[in-house]
């Protein structure tokens, strides 16, 4: 009893200390800044929280962990709060997590109840978000005693389990997920091997000796593809919905939330619980909660999809609760619950923190600071939305020609922060191209990032386990159980396949003559690169090559089988995962409701049907499917052409003057913007970048030719180094 009291006192002290630390005005300011950025990025079309977190990460290098996580979690926690604004007003979700909100939010706006729908969305987001933080807070005392018994072998097994689950669950193509995860681990092994000093895949480049830095890779894989698709799709949201009723019915929305508190609690639990399972991304959480509400709420089958506030509440409470849930495995086991959490795990490593037992003992106050950050960010975010709804709504109709140049400038600055070498910018470009291709061909990107983040840890824990326990580490009960779960996870899709085909014999005979498709070229490219990487590894020391070779061979097998399936397997139907089944159930019930209600009312069933394809692939997909291939390729080539020319000019005159030049050219050439707007926007942007990055953050800039030739100019031209 005394031990429990002492444990409780220790945790209460840590939670109190964390609260006091977070209440520092500067940290609160960063938390609020993170919230504003989260809301803006959630609302602005094309850029999501994932790209936003990747963009912010490099600017936290010089902060203490409390401030850094306040900023990052402020952003991560509020992107889902701003999402319902475009979803309700324009019928276009700001992010994948609010896709289900459209079904009832948009019909409510059409009925003149936009204010009520938005208010219910903000309040349910707030309640869901705080519930998620609470869930994390109560998980800590439960996990703490367990964590104290975990050693390197168990942490290794958790990492392997995390990657295998993300690989298998993060897409309708588990083999591609597995390949991507293995490639990520191999990327993490680039550089000097800590055991033998062997240089692994460094290609005689000094830049790669310390390994490939995480930030350019993250920005390349998650930010550049979104920008490229923004240029390709050029999506513009029609503004035919009136914003005049945006404040009307707000109080009613708040009352709705308190009336349906039990629904909020259940959906928050779904969000938090599902969020803590690695691999199930944000884009399905809202559908699962919506499906649950549809099944359990009275009369929902008749009213959902036609403007029922309970649909909005279910979806929004769940997607904000997932953040707190996803933090639990990230902090406790170093296994991120989502791609955003994988980036956050990168932040842990950058700030010298090791996820796992340390976070629940030595660094418990940092963990509690995260809990407070999530809770406060949700309250702040909802408050800001109540106060500034019309202003935020205008952001969602911003044109790509205004968004892209500003974001691209920040991406370049962020990427260069990694090691402050030109190599960072080359990495950005290469991984941008890789990320966009993966997104285009529906290769899941989260396993790749997870592999990169966990690759080092896996190898380190493996060597420690072998050194400390010999072969017996494999027989430790927790390790054995976790490995069995990982193996079941990897084998399950094949078992499912066998069941669908009615036996092994029918499955292996269900082939056709090979059919070729452009997307297979990418798989062939991946196989070639993997083959070359494995071949290079053959000449290394045994201790340096064993892990990369095993991982490389697994990746080769997975990619090979995936290619064979693509070419030779007959198209199959009926393979439904639990999530697919839920989405289909939502679709069926809405369709049934529409029939019994006499049709009309927003076409929720159609919207759900259109969303089904997207949900099955649990990464953001390119919304460029309506465009012909030649248009996609031409515009993508133009985008990457811009990046190369941008870098070329930057090498001569520096980054800030290049941004000015690029903005003028881009706005005028790509969208024929009016000259007064072009000049005002370009001037304000370059001055703002100079003020923030040169004078406040004192960012070191990439060396330039002009700066080397005429050093005196450095005093006058910002960013000239």
């Amino acid at each position: 009893m005394e031990a429990v009291a002492a444990e409780f006192a220790f945790m209460a002290t840590a939670a109190g200390k964390a609260f006091v630390i977070l209440m520092d005005p500067v940290r609160l300011m960063y938390l609020a800044a993170g919230c504003v950025m989260g809301l803006v990025l959630g609302i602005v079309p094309g850029i999501g929280g994932l790209a936003g977190t990747a963009m912010l990460l490099p600017f936290t290098f010089n902060m203490d962990p409390y401030t850094a996580f306040a900023l990052l979690l402020g952003l991560g926690s509020t992107t889902a709060t701003g999402d319902p604004i475009p979803a309700v007003l324009f019928g276009v979700p700001g992010g994948a997590a609010s896709a289900a909100t459209v079904l009832d939010g948009f019909p409510m706006a059409k009925k003149g109840e936009a204010g009520r729908a938005l208010s219910a969305a903000y309040m349910s987001s707030l309640m869901g978000g705080v519930f998620g933080a609470f869930l994390m807070a109560i998980s800590i005392p439960i996990l703490r005693p367990v964590m104290l018994f975990l050693g390197s072998p168990e942490l290794l097994a958790f990492s392997v389990l995390g990657i295998s689950m993300v690989a298998v669950l993060s897409g309708n193509a588990p083999l591609r997920g597995l390949t991507a995860g293995c490639i990520g681990i191999m990327i993490a092994m680039i550089g000097t091997d800590p055991q033998s000093g062997t240089l692994r895949w460094t290609f005689n480049s000094l830049y790669l000796w310390d390994g490939l830095p995480l930030t350019p890779l993250l920005l390349g894989v998650f930010a550049l593809p979104e920008l490229c698709d923004l240029l390709i799709a050029r999506t513009a949201i029609a503004t035919d919905t009136s914003m005049s009723n945006i404040y009307k019915g707000q109080w009613q929305g708040v009352k709705d939330c308190f009336k349906h508190w039990w629904l909020i609690l259940r959906c928050s639990w779904i969000g938090g619980g599902i969020g803590s399972i690695p691999g199930i991304s944000a884009s399905v959480v809202d559908w699962l909660a919506y499906g649950h509400a549809l099944k359990t709420e009275k009369g929902a089958a008749q009213t959902f999809g036609k403007g029922d506030v309970r649909g909005v509440i279910a979806s929004e409470s769940s997607n904000n609760a997932k953040e707190g849930g996803a933090l639990v495995p990230t902090v406790a086991f170093g296994v991120p619950g989502s791609a955003t959490m994988a980036i956050l795990l990168g932040a842990f490593l950058i700030h010298g923190l090791v996820p796992g037992p340390d976070m629940l003992t030595k660094n418990l106050d940092i963990t509690y600071a995260m809990v407070w950050s999530v809770a406060l960010a949700n309250i702040l975010g909802a408050g800001m939305c109540y106060a500034f709804s019309p202003q935020f709504a205008r952001l969602s109709i911003l044109r790509f020609s205004l968004i892209l140049p500003a974001v691209l400038g920040i991406v370049y600055i962020g990427a260069f922060e990694a090691t402050r070498q030109w190599g960072d910018l080359y990495s950005l470009l290469i991984f941008g191209l890789l990320g966009w291709t993966m997104k285009q061909f529906k290769w899941p990107r989260p396993p790749l990032i997870l592999g990169v983040v966990l690759g080092d840890t896996i190898e380190r824990y493996l060597f420690i386990s072998v050194e400390r326990y010999g072969v017996s580490w494999f027989a430790r009960p927790v390790v054995a159980i976790l490995f069995i779960i990982a193996i079941i996870g990897l084998v399950r899709p094949f078992l499912q396949d066998i069941r669908i085909h009615g036996g092994v014999r029918k499955m292996v005979t269900n082939f056709q003559a090979p059919r070729f498709h452009a997307s297979q070229l990418f798989t062939i490219f991946v196989i070639t690169v993997l083959g070359a990487a494995c071949y290079m590894a053959l000449s290394w020391d045994f201790s340096a090559k064993i892990v990369p070779l095993v991982i490389g061979i697994v990746a080769l097998i997975a990619a090979g089988v995936s290619l064979f399936n693509d070419m030779c397997r007959k198209p199959e139907t009926g393979m439904e995962s639990l999530i697919d089944q839920t989405i289909h159930e939502v679709e069926r019930q809405i369709a049934a409701g529409e029939r019994s209600g006499g049709g009309g009312g927003g076409g929720g069933g159609g919207a759900a049907a259109a969303a089904v394809d997207q949900k099955i692939h649990m990464d953001l997909t390119s919304e460029t499917g309506h465009l012909p291939l030649n248009v996609i390729v031409t515009r993508a080539a133009r985008f990457f052409g811009y990046l190369i020319v941008f870098m070329g000019i930057m090498a001569v005159i520096g980054l800030i003057p290049t941004i000015g030049l690029f903005v003028v050219f881009f706005m005028r050439y790509e969208n024929s913007e009016r000259w007064p707007l072009v000049i005002t926007y370009a001037t304000v942007l370059v001055i703002a970048v100079t003020f923030v990055f040169e004078h406040i953050m004192h960012i070191p800039w990439p060396p330039t030719f002009l700066g080397q030739w005429f050093p005196a100019l450095k005093a006058f031209i910002p960013s000239l180094a």
């Binding site: 799709a233 050029r234 999506t235 309506h626 465009l627 012909p628 248009v631 515009r635 800030i656 003057p657 000015g660 030049l661 903005v663 003028v664 050219f665 005028r668 050439y669 790509e670 969208n671 024929s672 000259w675 072009v678 000049i679 370009a682 001037t683 370059v686 001055i687 100079t690 003020f691 040169e694 004078h695 406040i696 005093a715 006058f716 031209i717 910002p718």
Partner: protein
């Protein structure tokens, strides 16, 4: 502690404004010489 030299910042801001104007004038001249602004590349519907 944030320390900003206001004179240097104002000089840089003025310089950047002039730079943007120069770029805009050069672009406008080239654009006119090539026969007016490029037609916007709008999304293509299938």
């Amino acid at each position: 502690m944030i320390q900003i030299d206001p004179i240097q910042f104002l000089m840089q801001a003025g310089g950047l404004f002039v730079w943007v104007c120069i770029v805009a004038v050069v672009y406008a001249v080239v654009e006119k010489a090539l026969g007016g602004p490029a037609a916007p590349d709008v999304p293509t519907k299938m």
